[in-house]
């Protein structure tokens, strides 16, 4: 019986969730886009109303299902539903937004348990054109909340950057699981 695994990509509207999924998915991602009715928050012409979906097929038929959460705050109830049972979560932040530190706080609060379990990584986008706040500032936000997780500058239009986020996430989970095995021997 093929096994299924789940990965979540979350973040505010325009942070690059749909792009990130498209960068790694084996299939053309399913994306439920409609006209963006909230142009004051984001100037995108369209936005995801429900969620994005992509998948990676492993040898033997197992599947990694990748879900992108809707970025609009009114869909935040879906974040926990989608996050249940996930291998981990990738949080994307757009550094060109007015208050990206506040944006990160929202997602760190929403996924605090996942972060504490070491199953989360943060990607900060548009740092080339908007170098402030820098990664150290974002790290400070996590420390304020009593959390620790990798935070990297990325451009999710580049597949290698998306793979970097996933590889960092996998290494984190492996290191913690290895330490957990040691403590039980």
């Amino acid at each position: 019986m093929p096994q299924e695994y789940k990965l979540l990509i979350t973040g505010s509207m325009g942070a690059g969730k749909t792009t990130a999924i498209a960068a790694v998915s084996d299939i053309i991602p399913v994306s439920t886009d409609v006209h963006n009715s909230d142009r004051t928050t984001s100037d995108k012409a369209s936005t995801t109303t429900a969620l994005d979906y992509g998948e990676v097929t492993l040898p033997g038929g197992d599947k990694l299902r990748i879900y992108g959460t809707p970025g609009q705050a009114r869909f935040d109830y879906m974040w926990q539903i989608l996050g249940a049972g996930a291998l981990g979560v990738v949080i994307l932040v757009d550094n060109s937004q007015p208050d990206p530190l506040a944006d990160l706080r929202v997602y760190l609060h929403a996924f605090a348990d996942t972060v504490r379990e070491g199953r989360a990584v943060v990607g900060i986008g548009r740092t080339e054109s908007h170098p402030r706040p820098d990664v150290g500032d974002f790290h400070g936000v996590a420390v304020e909340l009593g959390l620790a997780l990798p935070i990297l500058s990325v451009d999710v239009r580049r597949r290698d950057d998306v793979l970097l986020l996933l590889d960092v996430l996998f290494h984190q989970i492996e290191a913690l699981a290895g330490a957990s095995r040691e403590s039980h021997t």
């Binding site: 040898p59 007015p98 935070i151 996933l166 590889d167 996998f170 492996e174 040691e182």
Partner: protein, 335 residues
């Protein structure tokens, strides 16, 4: 302790941008080192300017004579900040706005407390008093000098000359222009033991020339490479024996990624290790681990753990399961 009260204004900005500055001032109220108020006059500490405005010349002449105000160009993507040396990009971000206000506040408060020590204005095209950061005269190395400069100055252009090389730091972009390509040899030379010369602030004319350089690299990559390729004698003495923990992951998006460094970072972020423990846990050569620790140290990412090492030697953890090997294979991730 009562916060100092400073004032700012706008010069030549559109109504939209002036409203933006006023709104941002309200947003950051109480979050800055000093209290700030908006003034319609020019006798202020900070001025957000349209660099193309004719009033900018008047204001900069005043700044040359009196040391006030600090003029900052408010620009949008693609616009040129010249003739002003300092700029901030619209749309304004809270963090950048606070950093700028605090940076100006620090120098303004210092000048008020000791006016006799205020920099002597130069009758040149200099738009700000020339500032020399003299904190590196203590004999700090290149990496320490760069880290301190990046922490204390979020604006301006600074040149550091060391080991026959020149590094120009562009703030707030956090990028660097080097006089030579950054290879292992150049990085090793910069890591050399000798104390680093004091950074020099570049005026608008010199800064403009540097900013036209065809290629720059992230400041984080400079520090990472300096630490990674530092000769053994230039590494911190505690590196070989101290147990350390990673306080913050390296920003591999800016420093460049080597697969082995991801595993090392994950192990070191989770628990303290010394170099030998980390080599055993990761299966890497000790020399490679020490180079990685040197890069982390140069980047200011390590905390030294107090106390002796545990008596039970660490067991080398294996990969968790075949799952991640299969995932990496399916995604085409090496390492």
């Amino acid at each position: 302790m009562k916060r100092p009260l400073l004032s700012l204004t706008t010069v030549g900005l559109s109504i939209r941008d002036e409203t933006l500055v006023k709104s941002m001032l309200q947003v950051v109220a109480g979050k800055t080192a000093s209290a700030w108020t908006f003034s319609d006059g020019l006798d202020v500490d900070l001025a957000f300017c349209n660099p193309q405005s004719a009033l900018v010349l008047v204001l900069t002449n005043r700044a040359n004579e009196t040391g006030r105000p600090h003029c900052v160009a408010l620009v949008r993507d693609g616009a040129c900040a010249q003739p002003l040396a300092t700029s901030i990009h619209a749309p304004l971000q809270v963090g950048a706005f606070i950093s700028l206000l605090d940076s100006v506040s620090a120098s303004a408060v210092r000048d008020r407390a000791a006016p006799a020590l205020a920099p002597t204005p130069r009758p040149t095209s200099t738009l700000m008093p020339m500032l020399v950061d003299d904190t590196s005269e203590s004999g700090d190395g290149f990496a320490e000098t760069v880290r301190r400069l990046a922490k204390e100055h979020t604006a301006g252009t600074w040149r550091i000359s060391h080991a026959g090389l020149d590094a120009v730091l562009l703030m707030p972009e956090r990028r660097v222009v080097l006089s030579v390509p950054l290879g292992a040899d150049a990085a090793a030379a910069l890591a050399g033991n000798a104390g680093c010369a004091a950074p020099l602030w570049l005026d608008a004319t010199d800064a403009a020339h540097v900013r036209e350089a065809p290629s720059t690299l992230p400041l984080e990559r400079l520090l990472w490479m300096v630490g990674l390729h530092a000769p053994r004698a230039a590494q911190p003495q505690w590196l070989a024996t101290a147990r350390v923990r990673l306080r913050q992951w390296p920003d591999f998006g800016r420093v460049g990624m080597v697969p082995a460094h991801l595993a090392l970072s994950a192990l070191l972020a989770h628990a303290p290790h010394d170099a030998a423990e980390l080599a055993a846990a990761s299966g890497n050569e000790l020399a490679d681990v020490e180079a990685f620790l040197g890069a982390c140290a140069a980047s200011g990412l390590l905390d030294i753990e107090p106390g002796p090492a545990p008596t039970t030697p660490a067991v080398a953890p294996r990969r968790v399961s075949r799952l991640f090997q299969r995932l990496r294979g399916a995604l085409g991730i090496g390492g």
